[in-house]
Amino acid sequence: MTLSEFGTYAVGVFLLIGAFFTFVGAIGLVKLPDPMTRLHAPTKVGTMGIGALLLAAMSHSYVFRDGSFHELLIMAFLFVTAPISANFISKVNIHRRACDTPPKVKSDETWSTLVQRDEDGNVI
């Protein structure tokens, strides 16, 4: 088997893996019942789905062209930024009471989204 044949199969396999996980993420978005569980679906798309698609792009560029590292950077930036948006969405869910109330922490401590403040910004 020559290198270009092997490369073709590798690209195909990675594309299929990426497409499968992106598809499962979309199914999860439709199927899961409430806002907090729906948040779990994009994490799959963002990690394995995009990861495998970028791996396919990278192996294609290495086998058939000059090769490129840019996909590694896309993956790195995605992995750094995805948790922040997920964190903000879940904070909004907690704030709007769109999900089950989180368990109490302790008597003198609470979740930072639920902290009540007066006009001067002091904790009540």
């Binding site: 569980t37 799959k44 394995m48 790195a76």
Partner: protein, 166 residues
Amino acid sequence: MTRLFNWLFPHPVMTLLLAVVWVILQNNVSAGMAVFGLILGTVIPRAFAAWWPDRPTGFKLGRMILYVFLVLYDIVIANVQVAWIVLTKPRKKLRPTWIKIPLDLRQPEAISVLAGTITLTPGTVSADMSSRGHYLLVHVLHTDDPDAVRDDIKTRYEARLKEIFV
């Protein structure tokens, strides 16, 4: 000498990281690009040192790289598990829960890395922190044993992070 080094490189790991990112961005591994990347990596952290005053001391780069590979492996495993849950579990049998994780970590950088790891691993999303930073609120998609998930996160990730950020 050490004071000059500390003034010039407020975050040595960030200097290295910026140089590597620059070389990858140019798609051209050569000495010139590496030198230019190191210059950028010196100037940028120096210019922004005022906004990140306390450097994390005793950061272990080698252990951090091992940790990244461990997390990548876990992401692949957890992806398959969560895909199985999404495709086969009926909605009524799904048992999502909140769990709270008592934190031993105190450095903000270490807690950010832990929260990011939890979110990137499918099946768990870190949602919030307690007001004094002693607990982390995590949402789990489906579990029969919340305590086991909590202990797993504590032993697998937090214990390793404690050794990385001493």
